[in-house]
Symmetry: C2
Subunit: 332 residues, 2 copies
Amino acid sequence: MKKLINDPRRVVAESIAGLGAAHQDILSVSLEPTYVARRNKTPGKVALISGGGSGHEPLHGGFVGFGMLDAAVPGEVFTSPTPDPIVAATRAVSDGAGVLYIVKNYTGDVLNFETAAELAALDGTDVRTVVVDDDVAVKDSLYTAGRRGVAGTVLVEKIAGAAAERGDALDSVERIARRVAASARSMGVGLVPPIVPHSGVASFELAEDEIEFGIGIHGEPGRQRRRLEPVDALVDAVIAAIDEDAPFVAGSEALLLVNGMGGTPLSELYIAYRRAAEVLGARGVRIVRSLVGNYVTSLEMHGFSITVLVLDDELTTLWDAPVHTAALRWRS
Amino acid sequence: MKKLINDPRRVVAESIAGLGAAHQDILSVSLEPTYVARRNKTPGKVALISGGGSGHEPLHGGFVGFGMLDAAVPGEVFTSPTPDPIVAATRAVSDGAGVLYIVKNYTGDVLNFETAAELAALDGTDVRTVVVDDDVAVKDSLYTAGRRGVAGTVLVEKIAGAAAERGDALDSVERIARRVAASARSMGVGLVPPIVPHSGVASFELAEDEIEFGIGIHGEPGRQRRRLEPVDALVDAVIAAIDEDAPFVAGSEALLLVNGMGGTPLSELYIAYRRAAEVLGARGVRIVRSLVGNYVTSLEMHGFSITVLVLDDELTTLWDAPVHTAALRWRS
């Protein structure tokens, strides 16, 4: 195992300490309990909180800041955070306008955020939860009842974050988050597995000419093992799987996210993007917004995922709204 | 070799086609000759052009746009571009205020940009060249007379780009670029080698417990092979090497860049950042600006580099100036 770490037990604490040191203008870090909170939260705004196992950076801590999350709660690598730090983060950023939890659909995350919501309710905090389950690869999975939540999560966080930032009430922010979660569709392919620091061994084994088609972001199995093909064929198969789940509508507008799993060169993501945009274009889908890079990763896994989100004027406006986080930053 | 490609011979063309498709608002792509040019260049501005072998993405095409480069000229992977596309890019973006070439110090790059500058001079274009050689690891190298140009290049491009954008004349833009190039100091460490698509084999071999200390961005040898140590020890050694070359001055202000080589998880870069900031802080250096992520990569190499740039008011102001490229984007 070759990693730039000191001690597998300190990976999460030292990494978020570094995040805090590098982005002091944006966020602050609490180590016990462990959470990342936005500095200078807009007063009276609905608070957005996400979290889950670590190892998917920049998700979630890299998305804390203006126009996106108010707090992120990282668990150990690929391990759900317990309710306590979620409650602590909720208390730290809630100021009366209500709180939205954005939770990827993994059993541990769902349970622990549910418990935290019940505890926060005892404080009188109105907490709503939106579960993201955008991965069309498999119906149930290793850590999941129902679909897994993967790269579409970043779109939910950005768009709901913009709604909260413009002053929407909790009902509206929740509605918009649900709309994005319901519409986003993703699927991924894994070429080389991640290695969890604690275990020191690869999450799965693949032959030199094999890939995992429909891979999860913890290296969980997808639909099948396949031969490694030219990337255009892989992209075509991923797009076909998304199309089968939610058929593309000619004339629609969409956001196309080509996401790297952590160990994939950016040049390869752009090769995949090129093909995905071509295929969607041939189906009459207009790609009006795009995002290419490492956003929802799986440690050093080599692989990619494609997410398609159908847009309308409201979602496009919220996507374009200013954001200032460690990992996403733009102005209108 | 596991790569998300179609054909090793089409990697560069397909990748920049994807870059062009994903960022149509920012840049346009020419395939024959091959270069990336900014859309909507500010008229009458000094033009900034960089380039070099591909495989270092987002360098350079990802830095084309408002406040940074006007064109980027990618060669094949780890291979200098020939003078022809450099001249074509120069003609495409030059409109009379002069052109600055920002060239990483590799023999092929230096020669080919020099030839291009001579050809452009025949058109009557005033071309200046700044060579970046920020890598303190070795004096000469496999492809280099003198030091190699590595991650400091992104700082030269950003800061000189801001000077050009605010309307500085060619003399001033050149002076500022030279100042940054002269002040930036970098060094890197490699854990797992990159694989060049054409050859299909690793650029070097390392044992399971070995690292290359002072690695180049083409996988060239550095100072020595060492045992893999905890990342804090590696960071300390890199910082010590930079300090030895250009001793830190207590009370100075600096920008700290912790750069990933392409295959390194972001969480590991933040662990390294944390230590680097601590060590510099203990030496009395105030880290007032920072950048953490994959900016100057080496395909899927696992490794990192640290760059320290001493700042003054002028450089800080230019660093903070708005930038809108595929890979760096912010407002003041």
